[in-house]
Symmetry: C2
Subunit: 371 residues, 2 copies
């Protein structure tokens, strides 16, 4: 039910375009996936996501498991029907949230004991339970349950974590039954090149239709991230899609694509949008700025989105300062459009051999700290 | 630039259908006008309002005067362009908000001294200033600046208020210069029938293209409101539109229409929506109800709106309990659609002589306290 093929390969970098097919349609890669944590990409309808070019969205197993509950979503027809999204969906495994949002009790070989961030109730998540939840949700692409160590961490601790993740990946593969879902393995290893290589080998030996790169973009310096990505590119099979989890910024897209990454997701464009930070080809602006109060120009003259075609910075600033819901809507719309549009230009530049030019052009107004 | 004509008149009540024409298009009456207080109907885009059948929207002079400022809106092309709404707009005068939202300092013959609810700054509003602000905003229909007394109030105090309102109406008419705007007079008089009649006479003697009925639906018993409406119907000219300000509920629409009212506005459907209270032909439901968590049915099987065609109560409850922006969007969408659809059925029933049947049918699931 899941097929991936590489279409064009760049010269001078590992960038490639490709395509994967799921039961809910095909996706052109490299692709940016908007995050719909609680079965909604915040502030957007499915039709709007279609209009701005979203091909696939991500939803969070952990949040939906806690509320409303995966069995309720299953009984209401699965995640696609529940949220009225007709195209592919990817769910994460819950692993990242267990380690980042919860009060941990204990990690055992069996799984993770922790406390619910909603009400403090004791909870237990294992590879098998994560598979069951993700089967109930019914996404097209699902993730193995992994152990996500906090950084910085010692070589020993990252090694143990990667080893646990590999053992759990084997259990996930055994437990997973739905043949209409593609289960991706997750590679860990922090920024240690040897552990990255080991984790890639261990995970590919188990064998999955796609591989996720976890444990990056968690605060490490960009050059360490880039070195880890190079190892990933060298050690992961080229005929399977690679998904760089939780990344990133426009500059990160180029970093990933140049190292053979096919899929990205990040809350950045929507979270930034709700805070008034808007990304454009001419750099980032904050719509709260007093100077925009009387500005009749759109967010960006070079942007073709609905928001830039119809609304002035003056109006958008007014909405934002007035805490209007429409502010979150229009700002999110613009930022997601910018991300999708940038990725579309990346897909077009790879076969033309103009990726380096595009990178230079797209990032020239972004400072190092922003990228 | 403003024309009104009555089309059909009911037998057995003063209900009528009609049509008015403005520089931004025609409006079929009776009409419900969604409230876009701060130049946005909360949670909705202009295109969505078009889709659900909004013909004209209301915006609030007081709020826009304070933020972002009427001169900024004028400089950005006026309210239509500012908010990207291509159809008619009505603005109120600011009077009601001065008396309901502000710390009053002093009412003089000249105008009202009060404190800004935003920052406590001293402010002064007069008939002439209200005209100037509304000219800057540029709505198609604007309101005279009136004095809105708090209820209950003595006959003497309501009389003085109605007299002041009449003197201010004459000043508004003199001060108003924009010929592309229709300036409506406002009738006051509380629930005193003699003062209602006096105020109607005084206001029509000044002469306006339309008349607003102020000072009702502010907490008085429904039978007192109904008696006041009967006096309004008897004393206002039949060839001019009548606008019942800030009203109301489905039952209020029938009360108004039966007494010759042509225009209504109310924040109720959108405010209710954000609180999870949804109105349907089968009565009101609160989407927070635990029973809806697993309910695959739409809000209303008999509703044809986008929300009812695409989303289950289970999903809408999940969005609401998760405080998702999409909850406010979809709930508002449904409630406004219900109000517009009800008004469309009222417009259809009047020429057919079936208004009484429609009333019985539309209100049968609503209790007295809800209507």
């Amino acid at each position: 039910m899941f097929e991936f093929s590489v279409k064009d390969e760049a010269t001078g970098s590992a960038a490639r375009t490709g395509r994967f097919v799921t039961p809910h349609g095909a996706v052109e890669t490299p692709v940016f996936m908007p995050v719909g944590t609680k079965a909604t990409v915040k502030a957007m309808t499915p039709e709007e996501l279609e209009e701005i070019g979203s091909q696939i969205i991500l939803s969070n197993t952990f949040h939906l498991w806690l509320r409303p509950g995966d069995e309720i979503i299953r009984d209401l027809g699965g995640l696609h029907k529940f949220m009225n999204w007709k195209h592919p969906i990817l769910t994460d495994s819950g692993g990242f949230q267990v380690f980042s949002l919860s009060k941990l009790n204990k990690v055992t070989e069996e799984g993770v004991h922790f406390r619910s961030p909603l009400d403090g109730a004791p909870l237990f998540l294992t590879p098998e339970i994560s598979m069951k939840i993700q089967e109930n949700l019914g996404a097209d692409i699902i993730m193995c349950f992994d152990e996500c160590p906090a950084l910085p961490a010692t070589h020993d601790s990252i090694r143990e974590s990667a080893e646990m993740t590999a053992r759990w990946a084997a259990r996930c593969k055994r437990a997973h039954k739905r043949e209409d879902q593609a289960l991706f393995g997750i590679v860990q290893g922090g920024t240690y090149e040897d552990l990255r290589a080991w984790s890639a080998k261990a995970t590919t030996e188990i064998g999955f239709p796609g591989y996720s790169i976890g444990g990056l973009s968690v605060g490490e310096p960009k050059d360490e991230m880039e070195r880890a990505l190079k190892v990933m590119n060298e050690t992961l099979p080229r005929d399977k899609p690679r998904y760089l989890m939780g990344v990133g910024t426009p500059a990160d897209f180029f970093r990933g694509v140049e190292n053979g990454v096919d899929m990205f997701d990040c809350v950045l464009p929507s979270r930034n949008a709700r805070n008034g930070r808007l990304l454009t080809n001419e750099g980032a602006i904050n719509i709260r700025n007093q100077a925009y109060a009387t500005d009749p120009a759109p967010i960006s003259e070079s942007c073709g989105c609905y928001v830039c075609r119809n609304y002035s910075r003056g109006y958008l600033r007014h909405l934002h300062m007035s805490n209007e819901i429409l502010a979150s809507r229009l700002n999110t719309w613009h930022n997601l459009y910018y991300f999708h549009d940038l990725m579309e230009r990346i897909r077009a530049a790879i076969p033309k051999g103009t990726l380096a030019d595009l990178k230079k052009d797209a990032l020239k107004y972004y400072s190092e700290s922003e990228s």
